[in-house]
């Protein structure tokens, strides 16, 4: 029993009090204490202790990666990657755990390279005093100054690339339909896995579906005469359908780029709705989606009026009423590829 304890102790005990193990233990200790402190809303104590834990963890890791043995192993093609590990921890601490936000994302990623470059260059500013062995500030040698400038600039460039990635994501959130035409020609971006069904990426499909819904609520079950009147006034009536369709969908910047039109293509009332993309196009031809709806009349035989047997008038056989009502049947939205150019 004693042997086991001794062994554990030997393993656990840092070789010196001033060592990276001490710092890591301190950080674990802080994490445990932070977990034990009250979870009440202000959480001031917890925040301070967990911050201390992070600082200990960063310093401990910093120390650890600069240990000669570790430094030798942490090399990627002759490049010592230790500073980037430390930089990542610093960024997670600074930008990742704020107010319990789950995704550190943007700020953390963008600031990671320059912070790592600063971590990388710090040893170049420090020299150990020949007498007291304590670290003192020193101006880096010209060769080191040049290296610091180049490393910093290269890392800033990587930051810009991260930022570019996030910009592209912003654009795709505001203008998702750009994906529908594919980025094969782009000199900037590439899709890792080009999607199989491009059409579904276009919000034109959503617009047409919304328009179909609006059209159905407008015409279905209405007397046929009214439907025909509506159809003959299509140019004046359709804008309301368009507005209703737009109102159904989330408001994003892209909505400005879609135009919805409709025209009657056959006397049996085939209504062809067209969602026209007015933004930039990948090809010379215009990009549009169509949906054809057949508006027909259905004969509905309504049950005769209730015969009023107890009325004094003789119960005449009331004529069966035949009413014509509008029905709307729509096909699926189709991509321009499957249709001839207008």
């Amino acid at each position: 029993m004693r042997d086991i304890f001794d062994q554990i102790r030997k393993r656990m005990q840092p070789p010196q009090w001033a060592s990276w193990q001490t710092l890591i233990f301190l950080s674990i200790f802080s994490a445990v204490v932070a977990a034990l402190t009250s979870q009440a809303p202000p959480q001031i104590a917890e925040r301070i202790i967990s911050s201390l834990g992070w600082v200990f963890l960063i310093l401990g890791t910093w120390w650890f990666v600069y240990e000669p043995d570790v430094k030798k192993k942490l090399k990627l093609y002759e490049l010592f990657i230790g500073p980037w590990i430390v930089g990542a921890l610093i960024c997670i601490y600074l930008f990742g755990t704020w107010e319990g936000r789950a995704i550190p994302a943007r700020t953390a990623f963008v600031s990671w390279p320059p912070i790592s470059a600063i971590v990388w260059s710090i040893p170049k500013f420090i020299q150990s005093d020949p007498k007291t062995k304590s670290p003192i500030y020193t101006t880096p040698t010209p060769a080191n100054r040049q290296n610091i400038i180049l490393v910093l600039l290269a890392n800033l460039l990587i930051s810009c690339w991260f930022q570019l990635y996030f910009e592209v994501q912003d654009w795709l959130t505001e203008y998702p339909s750009f994906r529908a035409q594919g980025f094969e020609q782009s000199a900037f971006v590439r899709e890792l896995q080009p999607p199989e069904k491009r059409l579904e990426l276009s919000r034109g499909v959503d617009y047409l579906d919304a328009a179909e819904k609006a059209l159905k609520s407008q015409l279905e079950g209405k007397p046929w005469a009214e439907v025909e009147r509506w159809l003959s006034n299509l140019d004046q009536e359709f804008p309301t359908i368009r507005d209703e369709a737009f109102a159904q969908l989330p408001r994003i910047a892209e909505n400005q780029l879609w135009n919805l039109t409709a025209r009657i293509t056959s006397d049996a009332y085939d209504l062809k709705m067209q969602a026209m993309w007015q933004g930039p196009s990948a090809r010379n031809a215009a990009y549009y989606l169509t949906k054809t709806c057949r508006i027909a009349q259905a004969r509905q035989v309504s049950t005769p009026e209730q015969l009023k047997f107890n009325s004094p008038a003789p119960p005449a056989i009331s004529a069966r009423q035949i009413r014509s009502l509008g029905t709307v049947q729509c096909g699926a939205a189709s991509s321009p590829d499957s249709l001839p150019q207008p």
């Binding site: 180049l150 810009c160 654009w171 959130t173 994906r179 035409q181 782009s186 971006v189 990948a282």
Partner: protein
């Protein structure tokens, strides 16, 4: 929203262009300024890493303040490689050329100060008290390598090479790289 649309092509092209520009510009600078190989590579590397960083910063600032219709055109250019007015593109390319030239001259001057490299031009004119004959002065002046001119030539050479590569990419049929 995070998608798998990555700016990989931009990164690839930028890396290629930077390496190419450093190689070309260091040769040109070395030849025109009569400086050592190491110094010329230092100049070219620093200048060509600084200019894309500044360029991206300007891009991000301008992009966020563009009116929506312009922004859509810009996004269209980046996603589909198509632009409504090629004249605008040429104008932009020209101003980028001038901008990078000025930036590179400035970067090299700063680099001299930071690294403590003595400029051959300033060494000559630093001492105004010393009397110089007219001819002697003119001679030194004409012999002095003009740094701005050398940087302009280097910039022109690297831009030509990059333009050539872009032209080749435009002409060749698209391949999925």
């Amino acid at each position: 929203m995070f998608t798998d649309v990555l700016p990989l092509r931009a990164i690839l092209f930028q890396l290629l262009f930077i390496v190419l520009a450093i190689a070309i510009e260091s040769i040109v600078l070395q030849k025109y300024l009569g400086i050592g190989q190491k110094t010329s590579i230092q100049y070219a590397a620093t200048a060509n890493l600084a200019s894309p960083v500044v360029g991206w910063l300007i891009f991000f600032t301008v992009e966020s303040s563009l009116p929506p219709s312009w922004r859509v055109q810009l996004i269209g250019y980046i996603f589909y490689d198509r632009i409504n007015s090629p004249a605008l593109l040429i104008g932009l390319a020209f101003s980028i050329f001038i901008g990078t030239f000025l930036l590179k001259v400035q970067t090299i001057n700063w680099l001299d100060q930071i690294l403590g490299i003595r400029k051959p031009s300033t060494v000559e004119v630093q001492d105004p008290i010393k009397f110089r004959g007219r001819t002697a002065h003119r001679q030194t002046f004409s012999e002095l390598p003009n740094r701005a001119l050398a940087v302009l030539l280097a910039n022109a050479a690297s831009f030509s090479a990059i333009t050539f590569l872009i032209a080749v990419r435009t002409i060749l049929p698209p391949t999925n790289y």
